[in-house]
């Protein structure tokens, strides 16, 4: 039973990280109908930013809590500015181009950012400093649920609640929902759609940066390539839940995380991806628009 619970929590942790990234995919898709393939790289940049800041600060002997907070803020700000800039450079000029063009542009951005970090940093794995200490109160159950797992879960829940609040009740959140549902009409009620799109990229990137910081401190090492696989997995999770749907992205991520965790634990870690993608194929066969996605019946 302990083993089951352990796998369950490790699945939830994984799922939470996927969810933080998947939300960026799904929000951007909801608003401009684009799969932003460079989003995984934003997450990687978030991890690198927090790595650099945390390493420097720990050399100067800052207390752990201060390091976590400053590194987190730095990662969020830096990643958001990347997300914002990518949209302006690579997607905005293609707003009225055929749908394939921005998609290719996104793949190009992804490759560019990977290689840029490779050149600017290194191709080696870098050891990430331990940011989350082992809490004493977690001692009795530490063999089942680690302190980092707990931190990841708590942070993700807090971030999700904040995001829900922003989208449901704030003006920019309402503008986002309206723009996603009917862009022409959003323009006609006076919403500046360009600002809404920028805001979406900023929020999505900030979430990915939080994910980057958490996973890097969990796994303990990073390199320029981590964004690619995490991005693909999070994208899978977003499609699983129904791309464009925010609760769907979270649900899909948790299901994907749990599947991978149980597959690793009960079968073999070699089969982790096999099970994850098998699940995707199965769900898409029976529910092509994803678990919570709305069926696309376009009115003529």
């Amino acid at each position: 039973m302990d083993y089951f619970i352990e796998l369950f929590f490790s699945g939830l942790t994984r799922g939470s990280i996927y969810a933080l990234i998947a939300l960026g995919y799904t929000m951007v898709y909801g608003i401009i109908g684009l799969i932003n393939f460079a989003h995984g790289e934003i997450y990687m940049i978030g991890a690198f930013t927090s790595f650099i800041v945390a390493t420097v600060l720990s050399i100067y002997g800052f207390p752990l809590l201060a390091i976590v907070i400053i590194a987190g803020i730095a990662a969020v700000v830096w990643s958001s500015s990347y997300g914002f800039t990518i949209e302006k450079i690579a997607y905005k000029p293609l707003r009225h181009a055929p749908r394939l063009s921005p998609l290719i542009s996104a793949i190009g951005m992804s490759i560019f950012l990977q290689n840029y970090v490779l050149l600017a940093q290194t191709s080696d794995f870098l050891p990430f400093p331990t940011l989350i200490p082992d809490f004493p109160f977690m001692e009795p159950i530490a063999h089942i649920v680690g302190s980092t797992d707990l931190m990841i879960l708590v942070t993700t829940v807090v971030v999700m609640i904040a995001l829900t609040f922003v989208i449901k009740f704030t003006k920019i959140g309402k503008a986002m929902r309206a723009t996603a549902q009917d862009r022409t009409m959003a323009t006609l009620v006076g919403i500046n759609v360009n600002n809404v799109i920028s805001a979406t990229f900023i929020v999505g990137s900030a979430l990915a940066a939080v994910g980057g910081l958490l996973i890097a401190s969990h796994i303990g090492q990073i390199n320029f390539y981590i964004g690619f696989l995490a991005g693909i997995k999070a994208f899978t999770a977003a499609v699983l839940g129904g791309i464009g749907s925010i609760p769907g992205a979270v649900l899909g991520s948790l299901i994907l995380g749990l599947t991978e965790s149980f597959a690793t634990g009960y079968v073999s870690s070699d089969y982790e991806d096999v099970f994850a993608f098998m699940l995707l194929v199965l769900i898409l066969i029976f529910k092509p628009s994803g678990l919570l996605g709305k069926a696309t019946n376009q009115k003529v």
Partner: protein, 235 residues
């Protein structure tokens, strides 16, 4: 109030409207009639800044607006109810109305205006917590008009408010349009294929064919015009 001076606009390398000039005075109801594909909706979208104005000038209260962004134009007081109503399907009726007041910050007056549109269309008050996509066509038209009113427009641009509605509902909608015009002095620019109904409530009208204004006059003159009777009124 609103003046178009030799405005041209189009899609790709085709012009959809050519040299359109028209003028709308304060508190007037002006209608633009014409067949399907004549360029009526393009005219409205060009006024609102959604379609770029390729040449000519659009003046609102003497100020050129043809280069402005759509949200700035809404801020000036020009609001459109587009063809097909464009309700936000997953927002509730109340949230749809809130979106209409997106650019306003005067909470007290927004509340008053909300009461006003609920009084105008009591059915919307009943359905305030339902999703917009679940309303019937007539209710959606009422919601679309109310949403535009929530912006307190000086000029209300209506695109085919009668489209796809039952005759009784059409009658009700047109009565309300007249009422809005009278009660709050809102200038109304009404684009319609249903020429008969439109001309009966309008002060003046313009006729559009293949992207050009071919005829203009008072509503009475147009109703009496034999060509119009043949082409649009089915007499």
């Amino acid at each position: 109030m609103l003046k178009l001076d030799k405005v041209q606009s189009g899609y790709g390398n085709k012009l959809a409207i050519k040299n359109v000039s028209l003028e709308i005075g304060k508190s007037e109801i002006i209608t633009l009639i014409g067949a399907n594909g004549a360029g009526k909706s393009t005219t409205l979208m060009t006024i609102c800044g959604v379609n770029p104005c390729r040449s000519g000038r659009i003046l609102f209260q003497g100020k050129e607006i043809q280069k402005m962004e759509p949200d700035q134009i809404v801020r000036l007081g020009l609001c459109q109810v587009p063809e097909g109503r464009h309700i936000f399907p997953q927002l509730t009726v109340k949230e749809n109305l809130d979106m209409g007041a997106f650019l306003r910050n005067d909470k007290e007056n927004i509340k008053k205006d909300l009461e006003y549109v609920y009084a105008l269309f009591p059915i919307l008050a009943e359905r305030r917590n339902q999703e917009g996509g679940n309303l019937s066509g007539g209710e959606q038209q009422m919601l679309a008009m109310s949403r535009a009113l929530m912006a307190r427009p000086q000029v209300l641009l209506l695109d085919e408010p009668s489209m796809g509605l039952a005759p009784l509902v059409i009658k009700q909608i047109f009565e309300i349009i007249k009422q809005i015009n009278k009660e709050s002095n809102t200038t109304i620019f009404l684009v319609e294929q249903n020429a008969n109904q439109a001309l009966h409530i309008a002060d003046r009208g313009y006729v559009m064919e293949n992207g050009e204004i071919t005829l203009t006059g008072s509503a009475k003159e147009l109703l009496a015009n034999q060509d119009i009777q043949k082409a649009y009124l089915g007499i």
